[in-house]
Amino acid sequence: MTLGATSQDPNTSAGPVTEKAPRSRRRIPGWLMGALWVAVVMVLLSTTSFLTGLPQLTSSSTIESAARFALPILLAALGGLWAERAGIINIGLEGMMIFGTWGAAFAGYYWGPWAGLLAAALFGAVGGLLHAVATVTFGVNHIVSGVAINLLGLGVTKYLSSLIFYPLSGNPRESPPVPKFDTYSAQPLAGWLGELEAMQRVGISDVAGILRGLVIGVSPLAMIGILLVPVSYLVLWRSRFGLRLRSCGENPKAAESLGVNVYLYKYSAVIMSGALAGIGGAALVLNPGQPGYSENQVNGRGYIGLAAMIFGNWRPGGLLGGSALFGYADGLRLRQGETTVHALLYGAALLVLVLAVVHLVRGRWTNGATALGGAVALYAVYWFTDGIPRELLAYAPHLVTLVVLAVAAQKLRGPAANGLQYSRETGGRRKRGGKEPGALVGAGGPGAPPPPPGGRAGPDEAEPPGRGGAAPPTGG
């Protein structure tokens, strides 16, 4: 809230492993942090790939596959970001994605992929609107409303598709084939990178493979998804609108008292959230390789998106990382998963070892020793097993998330008033939206007892509204 807050924890954006640096007052800008993480991941993957002799870890086809898996998750996570930054927990992302898949297939079938995309956003937004009406206007518990929307999504699309798709496809659970977006590759860059990758040189080829995987076979939808990350950041953190929106998630009463129309902002945020989730659903229908709508195809990706967002500390950059992790684990698992995911254990051991050394160098002996123990344990598991049992493979990303959340929970912080119900009638007195929304969103504000009226805002970043562009750069 005050400038002094920067010294407490300047870098909530920096991801789970960031250390507090009480001795250093200089903050590292978000973009540099992101670049550093990208570099660390690249080095880690290249090393693991080289040392374990598994080129698939960094091959362009794996990365391509990971990107395709990550896209719907990313869009759902962005949807979650918008809603939760305005203080509305959106567990209904799953349902909104389902709405999106149906809308995309319907409009896509008749008027082509762009219309499908639009319809998906529209259908998702309708889901968001429902959620907003329930939670904002009628003060329904956010979780209850979200679950209801998930059920509604399943039911309504089932009804609609037996009504409309059945005559077309002869199957009430699936749509007929839907026209897809074309894909584009960045030539001649992709060609050069392909040559580099084929050389199988240590490091260079790995990096080339990773880059190539990101620049070939890109659909417009993927570009939009990626672009929406910086756009969300700019809108939410760099605009007057975004500042006010976030103030509704941190301290709606203070916002209201300063003239912000809290209901309006919450409504727009949740509708936007639904639209993003709907586009995420469209990614499952309109991207090349996806055959169209089919029942249950969303398969929990909305929830995973929510997890990716929490993993990313309610930040655009962080949730991009979280979605990439899920996508990568999924993509890798389906490519000789037993050996490749097993090799990731080795990579994880390396990462933890490096962390341990960093801790030790800084004189934090306990943390260092713990991390060292973890690294040894991981390496031992790697050494004494020949592959990951298939039963565990599918849950690799979930396990990673659990570990990260467990390790870094203290450092994650969501919006302070997230999940709390705000009511204008009661004079801005906030009451619990539900029994324990805090348990769901993990750490940070929501877990704390409800603050007194006019109570604290977030510890570090909720500015009083009205200071427009003066928000400090807290991007991810």
Binding site: L51, R173, P291, G337, T339, L350, R390, A394
Partner: protein, 381 residues
């Protein structure tokens, strides 16, 4: 600037580790990397095909003088119900054929909901049994527990269960299929159609049922081409049934197999199979469908030209034969398993892409029926 130092340290450290080289050897020996296409486009070294049979002997029940007007048939569908273009539809087709050929007194059809509780299934069955429906047919192994519970309370009602057997319940007739035998023929077809001598199997969920498909496919491919290379992927582990409904995963798994060099892919992955066909089409490869004649399915019409054949699981035949047997009150010599010999499993010929090897397929089929080839029903590794 602590973090950059940490990162530099990380880079230095991993460099050191690289020099020390403490990764385990042989971790990746089982894979030859991307694009390893085997021995070019020459196809496989094929084993000698079996002799061409004169005519494949398949037995079907006589229904000319069967009268089913006394039967009140209850049919409990799995999720999707009539019109799912798969098992439920096949069961419905069997029912319709029975109705047409020997008439049925009364028919009640009920459908399961997604993620419904065991209780819901039990009460659905009790409702049918209470109203005096007999026989009651359940489509899908999801009904196994519910059948076991309900059948014990209604000893005079006939039950039949597709895809599962219940131990110790005399009034439950299992309608089981020899999926491994049908998959064997799919394996033979794949081995004859591959250019790289490299094929793939995509399973939906790693359950014993799907492993039967895998076992038969592997056995058939190896019987036809002993040195064939086979990719093998399951979309989800046992217990996570989403693998049957996730075309995106099916698509990526198939792309991975094509990248590894496979050029004919067989799927046993339900609705995820749509993703398999899309990937095969995009990757200029061939695919083999499952359960019903997928060449004729509207939902995959765009990629039908890659579907060379489908392993047919004739739920309609089983349901029809069962109804005929019940109408005649003769369940004594009802087949324990619907295999190739009673037309319970088969391969489809729509599209004409296996016409050139029909003799070979029928040869293997005859050998399996005669018992000269024994197909294992679980993967042997």
């Amino acid at each position: 600037m602590r973090r950059p130092r940490g990162a530099a340290l990380a880079i230095a450290l991993t460099g050191v580790l690289a020099v020390v080289g403490c990764a385990k050897d042989g971790g990746g020996t089982s894979t030859s990397g991307e694009g390893g296409g085997g021995e070019g486009a020459a196809g496989c070294q094929l084993a000698d095909p079996p002799p061409v049979p004169d005519e494949v002997e398949v037995s079907t029940p006589e229904t000319a003088d069967v009268d089913g007007s006394e039967l009140r048939v209850g049919l409990a569908y799995d999720i999707g119900g009539r019109g799912d273009a798969s098992f439920n539809d096949a069961a419905a087709a069997g029912l319709d054929r029975a109705e047409e050929e020997f008439g049925l007194g009364d028919v009640r059809e009920l459908t399961a909901e997604a993620n419904e509780s065991e209780d819901a299934k039990v009460s659905r069955l009790r409702q049918l049994a209470d109203e005096g429906f007999s026989p009651i047919i359940g489509v899908g192994f999801a009904y196994a527990d519910a059948f076991e519970t309900v059948a014990a309370d209604y000893p005079d009602t006939d039950f039949a269960l597709v895809d599962a057997a219940v131990e110790g319940a005399d009034n439950i007739t299992p309608l089981l299929f020899a999926e491994h035998e049908g998959s064997f023929l799919a394996g033979v077809a794949a081995a004859y159609k591959t250019d790289n001598c490299h094929i793939g199997f995509v399973g939906g969920v790693e359950t014993p049922l799907i492993q039967k498909f895998e076992a038969g496919f592997l056995e058939g491919a190896r019987a036809a081409a002993p040195d064939i290379q086979i990719e093998n992927t399951y979309l989800t582990p046992a217990g996570d049934i989403t693998g049957f409904q996730d075309p995106a995963k099916g698509n990526e798994a198939t792309r991975a197999q094509l990248d590894a060099g496979a050029d004919v892919v067989y799927h046993a992955a339900g609705a995820s199979g749509k993703g398999v066909f899309e990937a095969a089409k995009a990757g200029d490869a061939l695919a083999i469908g499952v359960d019903s004649d997928q060449y004729n399915q509207e939902t995959v019409a765009e990629s039908r030209d890659v579907i060379i054949t489908s392993m047919l699981k004739r739920v309609d035949v089983a349901v029809f034969n069962y109804l005929a047997a019940v109408a005649e009150e003769d369940l004594a010599d009802f087949p324990e398993v619907f295999d190739l010999s009673v037309d319970g499993v088969d391969y489809s010929t729509s599209g004409g892409m296996v016409d050139d090897i029909a003799d070979v397929l029928d040869g293997y089929k005859a050998q399996i029926i005669e018992g000269e080839i024994e197909v294992p029903s679980s993967p042997t590794g």
